[in-house]
Symmetry: C2
Subunit: 191 residues, 2 copies
């Protein structure tokens, strides 16, 4: 999406060769009108799959998932939580997610009530980097007996390999913007 | 809102006399169509105030804030974060928020870049109970020199006193549903 790439270049803040901060429109301050356009685009590129629900992860995936749902006829949006009361583990599907940036291992969890066997679930998130969050969500869906209808992210970072790994694992991965490399503050996008 | 009250009675799960869980449509699984109606209602009851931005807090306020922004002509939505890298404190407005339910004190924080002096900011959240989160957000706005255009929450719990305290402090507080009491699993709403 040219419009999105232009916005990333205009408002994104590059840190080193691996990070571009898009706090000003995607994951701290949110440009709702832009997200509505991104949601429409997701509905176009995933028009051939059945979407019974949309799954994302808190916090920064929620806005884009909701704005995407509107263009799929308002299926429920479920957001995975990153912390679960330890006494409630039996009620949740849980999966571990490694963060390469932070060097930590955390959890994603969804109440068993909101993922039902046989449902077609579209995974939506803000970023796809190493693919750990998306893999974690796909694992939750596997545990629940759901089908992964597709994995969509607003911004991919191809150089971190998540896209390749998820495609090799058989998933239908779509990115609205895909970054090839970041060098000296200059972003090169995948053509 | 009768429609909302009916939904709370139908799908809410009461725990004791103080908690009603609305995970199935508001803060784990999200009914986007319902939230769109709630957002429209907020735009009606706050139609007399200027709204330059909407402020909420992660994670469960994000969806309703975004769906509300659509009915105000898409002003930016800013969501306060609950954790801030300790090295970045100088870049954030921070305020402490006590959780009576969890017995903890946590933080809400917004980057100084996204709150500008003189802006009129509408605070939107899913719940208003003791009013601690809303007070914390109002404090962030005070630090930034912004004006609190209003405080709106989907569900108020009058018996926990936040609404009264915030009104006494001079804020324009509006609730789409307001719970008077919860006894033996039966919810009584404020008329």
């Amino acid at each position: 999406m040219d419009m999105l790439n232009e916005r990333i270049v205009k408002d994104g803040v590059c840190i080193g060769t691996e990070i571009v901060k898009v706090d000003s429109f995607l994951n701290h301050q949110i440009d709702v009108e832009l997200l509505d356009k991104l949601g429409k685009k997701f509905s176009e590129i995933f028009s051939d799959v059945q979407v019974d629900k949309i799954l994302t992860v808190e916090a920064s995936g929620i806005a884009v998932a909701c704005m995407t749902a509107r263009h799929f006829g308002n299926p429920p949006v479920v957001f995975a939580k990153k912390t679960v009361p330890s006494t409630m583990n039996d009620d949740f599907f849980c999966s571990e997610v490694r963060s390469f940036t932070k060097g930590t291992v955390s959890m994603v969890a969804v109440s068993k009530k909101y993922l039902n066997k046989g449902e077609n679930i579209l995974i939506i998130d803000d970023f796809l980097a190493h693919g750990e969050a998306a893999s974690g969500m796909a694992d939750l869906l596997k545990q629940a007996g759901c089908k992964v209808a597709g994995i969509g992210a607003v911004i991919g970072k191809r150089f971190q390999g998540g896209e390749k790994r998820l495609k090799e694992a058989g998933y239908n991965v779509k990115l609205l913007s895909n970054i090839e490399k970041i060098i000296d503050g200059k972003i090169t996008f995948v053509l």
